[in-house]
């Protein structure tokens, strides 16, 4: 009887610990939405024109993930300003970017007070497969600023971070 009681208490304690861990590591709805949004953008970039969409349609799709006044700072003083410019560049670069695969790792999300803005840090890898099948990977760290407008999270700024300075 006593032994059975000890087992039951043990099971309850383990379940309580698991519940506490799940509670502490849970993601809020907005964090989950941001993560899904970034993953959707990655899928969009990798889809390129393989699914039959033309370059203009694809660029418009990618552009919808950014705010009207979005800024992309690539480092070395070069930057892209405005969603229209970004879409134009995406359309022109698409034949070349189709040869790459974009991977995103270590996506860290920090919500700003009010839950209408968030900062994201991630590692973006551009993976290229050579004709011999060998993959080369060029990884870069980025900081993203996102804002929630009309219930949708959009990127307002992307800044390349120099891990090695």
């Amino acid at each position: 009887m006593t032994r059975r009681l000890v087992v039951r208490v043990g099971v309850v304690l383990v379940l309580a610990a698991l519940a506490a861990f799940a509670w502490r590591t849970r993601e809020t709805g907005d964090k989950r939405a941001i993560r899904e949004r970034i993953e959707a953008l990655r899928t969009e970039v990798n889809a390129s024109t393989r699914d039959g969409l033309g370059t203009a349609a694809r660029s418009a799709q990618i552009g919808s993930y950014f705010t009207e006044d979005a800024i992309v700072e690539l480092g070395g003083g070069s930057s892209i300003r405005g969603r229209a410019t970004l879409m134009d560049m995406t359309a022109r670069l698409q034949p070349r970017t189709a040869a790459f695969r974009l991977d995103l790792d270590d996506v860290g999300i920090e919500m700003m007070p009010g839950d209408v803005a968030a900062d994201v840090i991630l590692t973006a890898s551009f993976v290229r497969r050579s004709s011999t099948g060998e993959e080369s990977r060029d990884a870069r760290e980025f900081a993203l600023a996102l804002v929630k407008t009309d219930g949708t999270w959009r990127i307002s700024r992307i800044t390349a971070i120099d891990t090695l300075r």
């Binding site: 270590d106 840090i121 590692t123 993959e135 990884a139 760290e141 891990t163 090695l164 300075r165």
Partner: protein
């Protein structure tokens, strides 16, 4: 990190290597970017407080040339002198056969060093 390590090879990182000691010159270390899943593998050539520069591909530490037998391809890189802070190391790969602009190297904060590459 060619020729010491092949691109895409599987390497083991000792995350405990620097619990009781600081990284040393010549150590090959793993450096995190946004997190632990994508890492740079680089060699430490400069320690905190030192002055590092490169002239015609030769590394100078506090003005003295650094002997680097592990470097096989050496292009004539020129890097202006930098002085490392008390938290910074200078890291670079062993493959220096490309243009300097095509290689990721430089100062790194100690907090980004994940551990030492074992093999």
């Amino acid at each position: 990190m060619l020729p010491t390590y092949q691109s895409g090879s599987l390497n083991l990182v000792n995350r405990l290597a620097y619990l009781n000691q600081n990284p040393s010159r010549g150590d090959i270390v793993a450096i995190k970017l946004a997190g632990p899943h994508v890492l740079y593998v680089k060699r430490i050539i400069g320690l905190p407080g030192e002055r590092i520069s490169m002239t015609e591909g030769q590394v100078y530490v506090n003005g003295a040339p650094l002997i680097e037998p592990y470097v096989r391809n050496r292009k004539p890189w020129d890097v202006p002198e930098v002085t490392l802070t008390s938290r910074e190391y200078f890291v670079v790969g062993d493959n220096r056969g490309m243009r300097v602009s095509d290689h990721d190297f430089g100062r790194v904060d100690v907090s980004r060093i994940v551990g030492r590459i074992v093999f």
